[in-house]
């Protein structure tokens, strides 16, 4: 679907049809006092060459540091073909198109994306994506509260080990819909959510339990036990997962005896560059019987009148244009461009490639932890297994250490002392498959020097 802008002739023809002398005349109902007219203080315009030189000069002031920062967004190698193909005009839109069935290629990409996400999570259904991981979790919880017919409650149990930004995003989205988020303490030795933290809530009425895997500390939760506990309490199990990790960890659809009910998370690790925090995309998958409570667009495969295979938006009675105020969400937009990148990324890597990425991330993080904890005064904060992040205890304030590392060209990790002051001088580190042996060595030497 190439985008073709209006030519001056098109504009003249449309103005003539409207009997309007100029484009500006279309806006003449705006009181003249309101338009600002001109922006004062702007420098002289530069041409493209001058702008390029200016920005290249500025970029040189900010060399790309060696990144050991994760905390929800992860640097991965993106095959060059991913963004080369995403940039084609046919794909270059953030939206599912209006008159969607005219764009069979876009719908096919979304259908394949949904198929791959359903495969990764082990659940029957995936939507065509949401904005980001935090808002996907908010939608998952609203969905769980609507879908849980065994519970009238709007309470949801949320581990303190869940990403703090997700907790705040969810709170911002759901608090006006009367959902109550009840926090669960993590185990100070393991960094996971123990069944003991759940025990006080046994027998109470609540709609869902959130289960992050891995959690914000990188630690693996006891997902089978947590899922089964939730189901014993007539609550839904809502998984928040790293999609890369799913290549080597048990998919949510297989957690416990009957599997998690809903899985969501941030899709950034699948093809989206870090790019200063976005755009990323959220994914949301669920059991077949919950599909009518699912928000967002869904693409299905069908046949036309001649029996030819084709793709179509389906189950639209959930959406605002049909269901109005009772739609499953006030947001049905998806992140089409990021999802296209994810589809290409997953296609190019394949299941084996993604497994290699996940395994390399895990091995690099273990190697990094091993090296850094050889530095005097540095130790692991938690003793349980991790995926590709880990928490370290430092002998001095983390902020100063990170400043010292950055001066040596290293983005050292995420300072946990603001979000988790009880952990003391705690640093969250990450090493993806992009880090090499000498990167790890460089970090270890710099850390020893800074401390």
């Amino acid at each position: 679907m190439p985008f073709i802008p209006h030519t001056p002739d098109d504009v003249r023809a449309m103005l003539a049809a409207l009997d309007a002398p100029t484009l500006a005349a279309l806006f003449d109902e705006i009181p003249p006092a309101l338009p600002i007219g001109e922006l004062p203080g702007l420098p002289e315009a530069l041409n493209e060459l001058q702008v390029s030189r200016l920005l290249e000069g500025r970029a040189a002031d900010y060399p790309r540091p060696l990144c050991f920062l994760g905390a929800g967004a992860y640097e991965h190698h993106l095959p060059a073909a991913v963004w080369d193909i995403v940039g084609r005009g046919e794909f270059y839109s953030a939206y599912t198109p209006y008159q969607p069935e005219a764009s069979q290629g876009t719908l096919q990409v979304l259908y394949e994306y949904q198929s791959m996400m359903a495969g990764l999570t082990g659940l029957a259904v995936s939507n065509a994506s949401l904005y980001d991981g935090g808002s996907a979790l908010a939608e998952a919880l609203l969905m769980a509260v609507r879908a849980n017919r065994k519970s009238k409650s709007k309470r949801v149990l949320v581990p303190h080990s869940l990403h703090p930004f997700y907790r705040r995003t969810v709170q911002a989205i759901v608090h006006n819909q009367d959902l109550e988020l009840v926090e669960l303490a993590y185990d100070p030795a393991g960094g996971h959510t123990p069944l003991a933290a759940l025990a006080p809530h046994a027998g109470q009425d609540f709609a869902a339990l959130v289960i992050p895997q891995p959690n914000f500390f990188g630690v693996l939760e006891e997902v089978d036990a947590l899922t089964d506990w939730a189901h014993q309490q007539n609550a839904l199990a809502v998984a928040v997962v790293n999609p890369t990790a799913l290549a080597i960890l048990k998919p949510p659809g297989q957690w416990g005896k009957t599997g998690a009910d809903i899985a969501c998370g941030d899709g950034q690790p699948l093809g989206a560059p870090l790019s200063s925090g976005g755009p990323y995309f959220g994914f949301l998958c669920c059991r077949q019987d919950l599909v009518r409570q699912m928000p967002g667009r869904l693409v299905g495969r069908t046949v036309d009148l001649d029996g030819k295979s084709g793709f179509t938006l389906t189950l639209q009675a959930r959406e605002q244009h049909i269901r109005r105020s009772k739609a499953t969400s006030n947001i049905c937009t998806n992140q089409g461009l990021m999802v296209t990148a994810a589809t290409l990324y997953l296609s190019l890597l394949g299941p084996h490639g993604l497994e290699q990425v996940a395994t390399a991330c895990h091995a690099n993080t273990r190697a990094l932890v091993e090296r850094l904890t050889r530095v005097t005064g540095v130790s692991r904060a938690f003793d349980r297994p991790v995926f590709h992040e880990a928490v370290l205890n430092l002998p001095c304030p983390v902020g100063e250490v990170l400043d010292g590392l950055l001066a040596r060209g290293i983005l050292g990790g995420f300072d946990l002392s603001g979000e988790y002051p009880e952990l003391g001088n705690a640093l969250l580190i990450c090493a993806t498959e992009t880090r090499e042996e000498n990167d790890l060595q460089q970090y270890a030497e710099a850390l020893a020097a800074v401390i």
């Binding site: 009518r292 009675a317 959930r318 049909i322 269901r323």
Partner: protein
């Protein structure tokens, strides 16, 4: 379009029908007129047994290929039985709206005064048909 409106039932303006039994319960469904307007039904969300509902409370949803509509309880009461067959066969409502397509049974002590009889409901359905006809064939205005 003329639709089937049995004279032994009670009706609501929102197109539910009510059949009164002598054991203090009533059966509720949607009218032939309503199923015709909705078109082929693809899904029915039925309420859970034991749920207490107010009169005019939305307690079920019917979804067709072109719309989704709430079903309102015609009376205050408690839902004592649901039509489980609709989960797999929503088309029963299209095929037999006053029989196999019933939606739920309500235990109620509420008076039936607020409900319509067949004659009153027929007038509402007829007015709907005129609206629908005018929407389908809008008059051109110069």
């Amino acid at each position: 379009m003329s639709s089937n409106i049995p004279s032994d039932l009670h009706y609501t303006e929102s197109h539910e029908w009510v059949r009164v039994h002598d054991d203090g319960t009533v059966t509720v469904g949607i009218t032939d007129h309503a199923q015709h307007l909705l078109g082929d039904l693809v899904f029915v969300e039925i309420p859970e047994v034991g749920r207490a509902v107010d009169a005019a409370e939305a307690c079920a949803v019917v979804e067709s290929v072109k719309a989704a509509s709430d079903i309102y309880s015609p009376l205050e009461g408690v839902i004592v039985e649901i039509n489980e067959a609709l989960a797999d066969s929503p088309e029963l409502i299209n095929e037999d709206p006053y029989g196999e397509g019933w939606i739920f049974r309500l235990k109620t002590t509420a008076a039936l005064d607020g409900l319509l009889d067949a004659v009153a409901y027929e007038a509402i359905a007829a007015a709907d048909d005129e609206d629908e006809a005018s929407l389908a064939n809008p008059k051109l205005i110069d």
